[in-house]
Symmetry: C2
């Protein structure tokens, strides 16, 4: 199928999007989109999510928009999480099942369509500022993936070498860490200024609070929450600068601004009261802050408990901006009905959480079923792509609505739920790469369904 | 020094204890003591600590007594934690730096005095019911360590073989898991009944909620929080039975009842919003529920934020029951001033948290300084006794009062605090075994004191 032809469902979706957007587009250009993405920021690290780190700008942004309490990254580590964000599809489908390193020859598959490509096709000016991490070879870099311009460190700040790049040129190496957030911000303000005549898409994946942590002089030692807090406070300042620029250019009422992060906190940072951290598919590794603000279009001061995912951003933007969806099955859904305040919940398929090729767990409604867990003792080398995957001898079931900490496995009391979710995952994986299906079948084949109390085998991981 | 001679401090303590207790002892016998200890129970696993597991009896006990929010086990795993509880001294001092296995030839050093020996010397009847885990050879078993009688599995229920013992005799093997809590409870009620004429000490270290989890028919599937919740609910029932027996025998106003646990939750269970679990010296591995009830002597419905430790129980009981302290340096302190409601805070030395011989961190006032952390990738074989010790390249400092999650390292902003605590720990360790001092010196020698932002070396543990 070419990008010009639509199947029936896509046609209906596109039509519906156009109909909804029609009165809006009649008088205004398509909305601008600013997507700000932190790196390794925990669910509990913003003021509006209970942190003591001062984040007045993000708190104000939440007060003027909608904040989600069950928003998930598609993966608990950087590269796969970003691959899913930009394509609306699981990272195992788009060639990025694991973290990419500077010397890796690969990247996000050429056959995939990014949000930037989608919106560029709709006439948007596009820029990426910050951490790319979807492939270092030129063909995978932002300027070859739908972005007119790029500025930033192309992967994590703890990797070597550490170049600061403009498009495909290295302009500083190693990049001076404490200058990054201000320079990213400066680039963002300039891009907004020079793009104001046409619709634009600004993707701003910050370098922080990934380690090594740094903040500029103005924020160093100021947060009262260590280097991590200082870095977060500077990102909050940056968000304030971007929102201020939108306002001063008269763009804020025609711009959707989104803030989220790629995965849970690593050494420092807080997952709130959730279990697990970066790398883990427990909630603390994948549940993220998510704030969306669009004055007049998204009701202000709302908190949504809908289960949503970074993979929902592409389909939502496609609908909102009137761009055709990519001609591939999308794993995310259009969440505009929730964002616009028309509905409170979303009907959706099971959400899967991977470590490499391995499905570690699935969320369906209030339930989360674990087939495997993160375990640093278990190292399954490539080509499995699974770094820290410990298959569980029996599946564990958590009632996330009542037990967000994942403290109490209720599989033995709910065998029918276990069986249902397992079957749904099997069906869902049918369109996935062979490695994914094989890994899942092997895990399930070895698993004993939960039985009575006291009969549970011991897991050998300590 | 013999047990009959006292140094000046001990003399003053003993005198103070006698003076305080005098009016009480004038009309009543010394108080009975019931010490109930759960196994692998998390800080967040009781109703009165925010759990959804129904624990009405423990909640009532807290409402009728005092509940602590900063009470620490001396170690994040079973055997060392219990060694410290029964001796009032760090586990590295008493020969139990690590978990004991059934085939281990050792146990709690013969030269140590347990709470049971202390109170037996004061004329108490004594019984231990449940998990001992301080040495399997007969010389280390409860009946040779101050207890008149013993009933229970002598170590963890996941170890093989799994005998149920009465004194030194195996009466069932393997023990039937789902019968344990009711049988322990039955033994406790009988002991209370037959001891009521004299002062008694009942030490009741439960087998659960350590895995493999089990509960009797009456509680199985009832808690709504899985096998773990069922096991906790049955322990709560057991506590209710013990409190009821004390009341029906007219003993409740002359009995101090204490409830706590040995370390944080393992696979299941909730550390609340604290970081880390069993095995870790982050708060979630060592902070425990602690409830003390003594009608008329401990004010009811109080919550104490004082920093206290399982090692405080021996010195507190020595004072309260008028027993001479052991003739060794104690690491715990008498916390009766807080329990009795006379003071709110305690002046105390730094509290140390160990993995084997390794001091991983120290709490002093609001600060907790980490020299090392739990890491399952790091295996330091015997004789170090440290199983999972990862020395940190730079110490991390957390402000526990403001950051109980240990999310934000504030060492760079507080170098003087780091230096002070490090020096205090060095001094404290002077009376410790050579292995402990050596391990600490080696860790510190390799550490860089915190410097400016951005200069922190990366920790290689992922």
């Amino acid at each position: 199928m070419s990008t010009c032809s639509l199947d029936r469902r896509e046609f209906l979706n596109a039509t519906a999007g156009a109909l909804i957007a029609a009165p809006f587009f009649a008088s205004t250009p398509p909305p601008n989109v600013v997507l700000i993405y932190a790196d390794d920021l925990g669910y509990g690290d913003l003021g509006c999510y209970g942190s003591r780190i001062p984040t007045p700008n993000l708190d104000r942004m939440a007060a003027g928009g909608m904040r989600f309490t069950q928003f998930y990254s598609a993966n608990p580590v950087c590269s796969p999480s970003r691959a899913a964000l930009l394509t609306g599809r699981y990272p195992t489908r788009v060639g990025v099942p694991r973290v990419l390193f500077p010397q890796d020859p690969g990247g996000l598959a050429d056959s995939e369509t990014t949000i930037a490509q989608l919106l560029k096709g709709r006439g948007y000016k596009t820029m990426c500022i910050g951490k790319w991490h979807l492939g270092r070879p030129a063909r995978y870099m932002p300027t070859n993936r739908g972005f007119d311009e790029y500025f930033g460190i192309p992967y994590s700040n703890d990797m070597t070498p550490r170049p600061l790049m403009h498009d495909l040129d290295v302009i500083e190496e190693p990049a001076t860490l404490e200058t990054l957030t201000p320079r990213y911000t400066d680039q963002a303000l300039r891009f907004i200024e020079r793009s104001k005549g046409s619709p634009f898409f600004l993707y701003m994946p910050h370098t922080y609070p990934h380690i090594p942590l740094a903040a500029s002089e103005r924020f160093r030692g100021k947060s009262g929450a260590g280097d991590y807090g200082d870095a977060v406070e500077e990102i909050d300042w940056s968000v304030g600068q971007v929102l201020g620029a939108l306002k001063s250019h008269g763009l804020d009422r025609n711009t959707l601004v989104i803030f989220s992060s790629d995965n849970g906190p690593w050494y420092q940072g807080s997952p709130g009261r959730l279990r697990g951290r970066k790398g883990s598919t427990y909630e603390g590794g994948v549940r993220e802050p998510f704030i969306a603000r669009f004055p007049g279009r998204i009701p202000s001061g709302r908190v949504s408990r809908a289960v949503a995912s970074t993979m929902d951003i592409l389909p939502t933007l496609a609908g909102l901006c009137g761009a055709p969806r990519p001609d591939k099955p999308l794993d995310g859904i259009d969440i505009w009905p929730v964002l616009s305040g028309r509905t409170a919940t979303l009907e959706r398929e099971a959400l899967l959480y991977f470590d490499g090729w391995n499905v570690q767990c699935a969320r369906l409604g209030r339930w989360k079923l674990h087939f495997a867990r993160y375990n640093s003792d278990t190292y399954a080398p490539a080509p499995s792509g699974g770094r820290f995957n410990l298959p569980l001898p029996f599946p564990e079931l958590y009632d996330i609505e009542n037990d967000p900490d994942e403290s109490y496995d209720v599989a033995p009391a709910n065998p029918a739920v276990v069986t249902t979710i397992r079957r749904r995952v099997e069906q869902l994986l049918e369109g996935f790469p062979a490695e994914v299906q094989k890994a899942f079948k092997e895990t399930v084949a070895r698993q004993v369904l939960p039985t009575s109390t006291g009969a549970l085998p011991k897991i050998k991981d300590k």
